[in-house]
């Protein structure tokens, strides 16, 4: 990978408290020892930013934006994550009543089919650079998949903690990589509390707890990629699913950093947050105002975003307000319908968080927050094959037939003639008359 710092060992940046400004050396801690506030990476003030042209010649991975990631030197692991497609979706735009829609398709993220590959790519490099020999996470599923996959190929042991009743795809999609996978009775919030205590007890790199300062920065690359893929500009709006609230907060930061670097001109995008109605503490905060998250007990099929006590919820709500955006929640039924709408109009099969994003967009259009004048990017953060339970019951049962042409002809005859465009070259009556 060409770089001004080529050949240099990877060194994580020091940290600074977002609340009180106390500085800390680089390390596996995300908590300020003075005020217990969140630590953020402290970037050098003399950073030299690349030009658009320089970035465009770099390899297709999130490391092409490395000056905005919290390290100096060269990453050694997970060099293939990032640079997912930005898909134009005109049929979906028409159905939603929007001027234009693009889908940021992290459903095909490498290596584990969700945006969590981005944050884990940052965290696992930090773990190795900090000399940690074991990684782990508390997860609603996608992070478990990403940590297990990336730890396996890095040769690191992983301890992964998930709610006991996650979808089969999330469980199998973690266990297959051979980590220490532990299913905890309770919700994600229970798992998170346990892991906070474990991070305090063992010397593990729990990626979303004591490595969180480095981990979170990986999410900024969603914004960087959207800007570059649109020709170095921002859309008018971005809709983002919200769990802990970090992704939206970091997308906000990413667009801000690219504007400050002069890589993107024009207005910043309005940011819109999406949650499931059965777990919508951040939407509640946006709608009701105030500065304090009221936790909820999650009750939704959208397990990947079912965090009842989102630690970055306040920061996400602030980013939404500052950008001029808004937030909306979708019922489980709306989420399922939206997964199907997305698939049928764009060819992208999203997990439940993607359904929440599309359904929330529909709600935001109804509310007049988004409209025909908008060019909107919807963040599709995970793959639908991970959560097939959510939609399986909503789909018509496929017919089972013998291998006879006349049995197909009988089925074709039942189809609405207006939907038979592809059979124009054939005469269905002739088909029906053929001997099988």
């Amino acid at each position: 990978m060409p770089s001004a710092s080529s050949g240099h060992q990877l060194v994580p940046h020091p940290l600074v408290c977002a609340n009180c400004g106390t500085r800390q050396p680089a390390g596996p801690t995300a908590i300020c020892p003075e005020c217990v506030g969140p630590l953020e990476p402290l970037y050098p003030t003399d950073r030299i930013f690349p030009t658009r042209e320089q970035i465009s010649t770099r390899p297709q991975s999130l490391w092409r934006y490395r000056e905005w990631l919290p390290f100096t030197g060269e990453p050694t692991l997970s060099l293939d994550s990032g640079c997912t497609p930005l898909v134009d979706a005109p049929a979906l735009a028409t159905r939603l009543g929007l001027g234009r829609v693009w889908l940021k398709n992290d459903a095909v993220s490498h290596p584990s089919l969700s945006f969590k590959d981005r944050v884990v790519a940052a965290a696992i490099n930090a773990a190795v650079a900090l000399g940690l020999d074991t990684v782990g996470c508390a997860s609603t599923g996608n992070l478990a998949n990403a940590v297990a996959a990336q730890a396996a190929r890095a040769g690191l042991p992983a301890w992964i903690f998930i709610p006991h009743d996650l979808e089969v795809g999330k469980v199998v999609g973690t266990a297959i990589y051979g980590p220490h996978l532990v299913r905890v009775r309770g919700t994600y919030d229970d798992v998170n509390r346990l892991c906070a205590q474990l991070a305090d007890r063992y010397g593990w790199g729990i990626v979303n707890l004591n490595l969180r300062s480095y981990y979170g920065e990986g999410s900024k690359t969603v914004a960087f990629e959207i800007a570059e893929q649109l020709g170095w500009r921002a859309p008018s709006a971005v809709v983002v699913p919200m769990a802990g609230g970090s992704l939206l907060t970091k997308i906000h930061k990413g667009f801000k950093e690219f504007r400050e670097a002069g890589l993107v001109t024009g207005d910043a995008p309005r940011l819109f947050g999406a949650q499931a109605a059965g777990c919508a503490p951040i939407v509640n905060l946006v709608e009701q105002g105030g500065e304090q998250i009221e936790p909820v007990r999650p009750d939704t099929i959208a397990r990947s975003i079912a965090i009842g006590s989102p630690a970055d919820g306040l920061f996400a709500a602030r980013a939404i307000r500052e950008s001029g955006g808004w937030a909306a929640a979708a019922t489980d039924a709306e989420i399922v319908a939206a997964i199907r709408l997305l698939a049928e109009t764009s060819g992208i099969f999203a997990e439940t968080a993607g359904g929440a994003t599309v359904a929330a967009t529909q709600a935001l259009v109804k509310q007049g927050k988004l409209g025909a004048e908008d060019e909107v990017v919807l963040c599709i953060t995970g793959n639908g094959l991970k959560t097939i339970e959510a939609v399986q019951g909503s789909l018509a049962e496929s017919p089972v037939i013998n291998a006879r042409v006349k049995e197909v002809a009988a089925l074709v005859g039942k189809v609405d003639p207006t939907k038979l465009a592809t059979t124009r070259i054939l005469d269905t009556q002739t088909l029906a008359g053929q001997s099988a």
Binding site: C35, V36, G37, N192, R193, A196, G244
Partner: protein
């Protein structure tokens, strides 16, 4: 009521290095108030200026977030365990 309060390492150093403290009271708030009096340096990391839970930590009473049980007004019984955890989370 005699209960225990468990602290993360980052806060234990403000309580003479003790990760587990004994405390007394009929509510979480009363027990925390007693600890705050005994360890003045720890006090502002448990309660904010208005006496409410400090925003960067979460209190659990026997594994349940006290915000679901009335906050500091949550009743405690002998042997209960209160766990203080830094408020960091993400899916």
């Amino acid at each position: 009521m005699a209960i225990t309060i468990s602290l993360p390492t980052v806060l234990a150093r403000l309580a003479d290095g003790q990760a587990t403290l004994e405390a007394w009271g009929t509510t979480v708030g009363e027990a925390v108030a007693g600890v705050a009096t005994r360890y003045p340096e720890l006090a502002p990391r448990l309660r904010d200026a208005t006496g409410n839970p400090y925003p960067f930590v979460t209190f659990y009473l026997n594994d349940e977030d006290i915000r679901f049980r009335g906050g500091f007004a949550a009743k405690v019984e002998d042997g209960d365990e209160v766990t203080v955890v830094a408020a960091v989370a993400g899916g």
